[in-house]
Structures are given as structure tokens and as C-alpha cells.
Symmetry: C2
Subunit: 342 residues, 2 copies
């Protein structure tokens, strides 16, 4: 790998994405990507006695399906990197408990899918491992009761609220393969513009997304036109418009090269999700169900996948704190010889 | 880097530890390492309005002291990797909020110091960054109220309970330097031998430590005698004896080559800490206050630093679950040309 200025680096020996899979909940399975998921639960409890165990079960399904799609078993992996939104990341720990795969736990809130690609990509590109996976999940019901109210309370949601996706995605990387390839990454700095409304995560995370994308373009001397698609995840409708506004102020029009995973998972008008989707599983599911398949089919050649996370807790909100956010960008391409990033 | 069998790899271009620092609480400052800490709080609240904010303040002190000891500023770092025990790792997120350092959040419970060395070491050794730091913290009061009872409740502690250290440690790595050096690492698998007593973390984590150390020795064809010291952190007195028993059953006597950070931070008899110390800050503080200085002074040439973490949450205990644990081993040496690991 090679450092470019301060926050970015090139994966000189570009890790190849061998396989991927996602498993989602019932509501997600009725959205616009309904035909693209590997597994759709018929019951979001997945036969488990608690929502948290259901989340772990979902994550295990995504891993097992990604392994089988790649013709691999758990023993073939040297590393899995993952995390989730639950306190102490129990969604992931309990999913991985019986897998006997070397495990590095991450906490990046909804940026976890991108973070897991960066860490497993570094391990592969540097030669530390041969095959590694990134994984994450979220579950509407486990997130609601932990971050907000018990579901039975029936609390009213604000217009800026996003709907936590019940979803898990897993991506398996290897040293050599036919791609798509991880080409470069920009690791984000924590950004906090003072938003204290814990029901407006889009506004809290948008400045982090803006800063990381700007830094990525600057450190590699790129323009938005160098990408077929820049996708953030998961700012929702409101956060997406904030990012567009921030770039417009810089005289950069992202046009239809830019979208957000939080606006792609549900049909907001029909599915009553207010400002869009959120949760670690949202960008993971959109990556695995829509974006990577588009790359495989040649419909996308260069993708900047920008995971966004809000690093608050219910306690920091109670203590009157504003919401720190982060965004990590991963540059993915279909042609290893493509030299637009060097 | 080069993979060795399944879980281990060599840092072929060994990252050099440039500087380190630790900041600890009042009680820690009265223990056996009292003369070895960089900073000791006179009041564990650190002038902050909450315990959680005090923990963030402590972590910031450790980072700032490590930077100044290394003759660096925050701008010199390309990456910082860290996490803590608090829900959503807010101890770390809020400490890093204003630092403008590219940040990867980790969750490894009390294994975080070792995990942060592995991830930042991979980034350096692979060439992705030039200077990176690992950081973690824990705080007795923030941990007690989150995991157990409000302090004012005055709950009785069990004999197997450990005392969460109020401490933060930070280690800064660079590509080239005079050492000590990261030589190799073994990433652990989650291990769960069915312990359901959330007040007996030592017993829950000991099997993970045993498995990772065994794997490390096997994958590099080493014996315990190849190390001056193998140190786990933080199993406490009970967990340490379980590790010794497990090795004895294999016919391996660890003798005085083995110790545990949870037994080194406090004087258990005098300081009423029952089974010893715990918390992410425990192994971080012992590494920074005692072990790295011993390496710098030539009193230790080869160290196997094995961070141990219990990946439970209060909710998993309430749901009757057993405690998954993990251990990551980092091999540190003073002589880059030392070829005992190849």
C-alpha cells in the first residue's frame, strides 16, 4: 500500500472481492431491491427468542451464504472484521462465537461496512492474510429498544427520523481474483458540527461525508466525474441533500453521480420510513444487493463507497452532547489496470 | 507482512514503537507502579461533569502526552485506532472528536490495546500510513454504572470480581525507528467455554488466552522459553491460574515467564481489588508504564503481549447467555535482526 498525503492510501496489490451476500428482514424484502437480496426473512425474529439473537442469526446467514457463494468454508478465512450498533457489539460477537474465524471487532456505527473493507483490505494487501471478510448488521427492533423506546410503546417518529434496516451484509476478499477490486481508501476524521438532535442523524453525518469525499478527491487529484457513482450510506433524504448543498457551495455539482444508501433500500413514500433507511446493515445490504452486482455486470466501473456513522450513544444525548460522526471512503473498481488512481 | 498458517503473521517490515504514555486514576497511582505512570489524576472526575467525560479526558491526556514524548503533533498521525468499554465506544469517540486524526474505531473489550497495535501495525507495515497510534481507556466509575450498579448503591463485590482500572494508554508506531518493534501477531478466534457468571471474567477469558498463546507458539514453532515474558491482560489472579493449569495439562510449565496485567496494576491485598484489575486501560497502562520501559532499558528483549477481552453485555447476561471471549497476541522485540521469528 502507499500513503497519499495524510488520510488516503492506494491498495497497490488490489484485494479482489471474491463473493458477497446479504440477508434482510421482511420489510426490506418488500422494498425496491426485493429481487436482489440473497435471503429475506419471513419473520424478523428469525425463530430466535430475542431481537438481539435474531440479529446474530441474520449475520450468520449472511456469512454462511457469502462463504457458500465463494465456494469456501469458515476454515478458509484468516480473518473476519465486523461490528454492529448494539452495546458491546453483541450482534457480531455472538454471531461469530462458534465460527472459529480469527476476528477483529470494529465499532464504526453505520460506517462499519466501509471500515471492515478497509481493515480487511489492509490485511490482504499487506500480505498478512490470504482471505478475509468484512461483516456487519443491524436490526430494527433491537436498535429501537436500545436507542429509543420499546416497540410496544408506539412512540411517534419525527419527520427527520430514519428507519433502522434489518439487514446484514458480508463481503469476502482475497489476494488475487477477477475483481471487483479495492483500489484505494480514505480514512475519515471525526466531524461534529454541533447537531444535538438524536433524531436527525442525516444532518449530523452529512458534514463527515462531505469532508471525507472532499479529502478523497483532493488527495488523489480527482473530480466527481472520475467516479461512475459516489454513494454515501446512510444519510437518508435529508442528509443527502445537505451533502449536495455543501458540494454546490464549493461549485461542485454531484448530479446523478451521487446517491445515498439510505434512500435506496426502501420506497419512502410507500413504506413509511420518513427520512430513509439507516443502520449498519443498510449500506451493507445496498452494497451487496445492488452495487457489487452492478460492478460484476459491468454497469459500474468505478465506485466510491462512503460509509457514514454517528458515534453517539443514548447516554451522550442525555448528557446534552452533540453528535460526532465519521465517514470512511473505499474506492472500488472493476479493472485492476485502470490507472485513474495511482 | 507474511501469513504463517492460519491466524498468525510476521510484520516483515517491523513497525517501530516511537513513544507511549499512560494516564491513570488516583487508586492506580497508589499501586505498585505508582512511580511509572506519565500522569496520575488527583481526582478521578478529572474536572468533568460526568464519569464518561472524565474517561474521554483521560484518553486525551494519554494521547497528548504520547505525542509530546514522541516530539509529534496530532497532524503527524495518519491514523489512530482505538476503542473502549462504554456503549458505542463513546469514551474514545468523544476523546478523538476534536483531534482531526483519521480514526478507525475498534471494539475488543479489554483486548483493545493489543487489537489497536495489530490494526495500526498492519497499516504501517503494509505502507498504508507512516505514523499511527493505538489507544484505549477504561474508568472504574463509568464501567460500574454501565455494567453493574450505580456506585451509590454500594453493591457487594464477589471474590472473583475484578476492579476496572481508571486508566488510558496510547502507543505511537512509525515505519522506521530504534524500536521496540512489532515482530508478529496472532489474531484470536472467539472462544466460549460456557461461563455464565458475569462476575468471573477471568475464568471466561482464560480459555481464549490459552488458545491464542498455543496457536502462536505452534504457528511459529516456538516454545515459551523463546519469550522473556508472556503477559496476558487482564485475567486477574483467578484467570492467570486457569491459564497456568491449562498449559500444565499440556506438559508446558510457563513458570515465571508468564504473568497477567490484572495482577500487576494493584496490590490486591492492600487495595481491596479482589481478583485483580480489569478494563481496557489495565493492560494499556501496564504496557506503557512497565513493559515498554523495560524493553527500552534492555530488561526485556522479547515480549508476547496478549490482550484478553470478554465480549458480553449486561443484556446478554440478562438473556442467560454465556460469555464469549477473545485474545490477540502481539510479539514485540528490541532487536529488529533477531530471527527467532521468521
Amino acid at each position: 500500500m502507499q500513503l497519499r498525503r495524510r488520510q488516503s492510501f492506494v491498495f497497490t496489490s488490489a484485494p479482489s472481492i471474491r463473493s458477497w451476500a446479504c440477508a434482510v428482514g421482511k420489510k426490506e424484502g418488500k422494498g425496491p431491491l426485493k429481487n436482489d437480496f440473497d435471503l429475506v426473512l419471513s419473520d424478523d425474529q428469525a425463530g430466535e427468542p430475542s431481537w438481539e439473537k435474531a440479529e446474530s442469526a441474520l449475520q450468520k446467514m449472511a456469512l454462511e451464504r457469502a462463504l457458500s457463494k465463494g465456494g469456501l468454508t469458515a476454515d478458509d478465512l484468516n480473518l473476519i472484521c465486523g461490528g454492529d450498533l448494539l452495546n458491546q457489539c453483541i450482534g457480531t460477537s455472538y454471531a461469530m462465537r462458534d465460527m472459529r474465524i480469527p476476528f477483529l471487532g470494529l465499532y464504526g456505527a453505520c460506517s462499519t461496512m466501509a471500515e471492515s473493507l478497509i481493515v480487511s483490505g489492509m490485511a490482504i494487501s499487506g500480505g498478512a492474510v490470504k482471505k478475509a471478510a468484512g461483516i456487519t448488521s443491524s436490526h430494527f427492533a433491537s436498535a429501537e429498544r436500545q436507542y429509543r423506546f420499546p416497540l410496544v410503546y408506539g412512540g411517534q417518529r419525527t419527520p427527520t427520523a430514519q428507519w433502522t434496516a434489518t439487514a446484514s451484509g458480508c463481503v469476502i476478499l482475497e489476494q488475487d481474483g477477477p475483481g471487483p477490486y479495492l483500489r484505494a481508501a480514505t480514512v475519515g476524521c471525526i466531524t461534529d458540527w454541533g447537531i444535538t438532535d438524536a433524531n436527525n442523524m442525516g444532518a449530523a453525518m452529512a458534514p463527515a461525508a462531505y469532508q471525507t469525499i472532499r479529502t478523497h478527491l483532493e488527495e488523489f487529484n480527482l473530480t466527481p466525474e472520475d467516479y461512475d457513482l459516489i454513494v454515501t450510506g446512510d444519510l437518508g433524504y435529508l442528509g443527502r441533500s445537505v451533502v449536495q448543498d455543501l458540494f454546490a457551495k464549493d461549485g461542485l455539482n454531484l448530479d446523478d453521480r451521487y446517491d445515498d444508501c439510505g434512500t435506496l433500500l426502501f420506497d419512502a413514500a410507500r413504506q413509511d420510513v420518513h427520512a430513509g433507511a439507516s443502520g449498519c446493515g443498510c449500506s451493507a445490504a445496498v452494497l451487496c444487493a445492488k452495487l457489487l452486482p452492478m460492478m460484476k455486470e459491468g454497469k459500474l466501473r468505478r465506485l466510491l463507497f462512503c460509509g457514514t456513522g454517528a458515534l453517539l450513544s443514548p447516554l451522550t444525548t442525555q448528557q446534552g452532547e452533540s453528535v460526532p460522526a465519521i465517514c470512511h471512503a473505499v474506492s472500488i473498481c472493476t479493472n485492476k489496470e485502470d490507472t485513474w488512481i495511482t
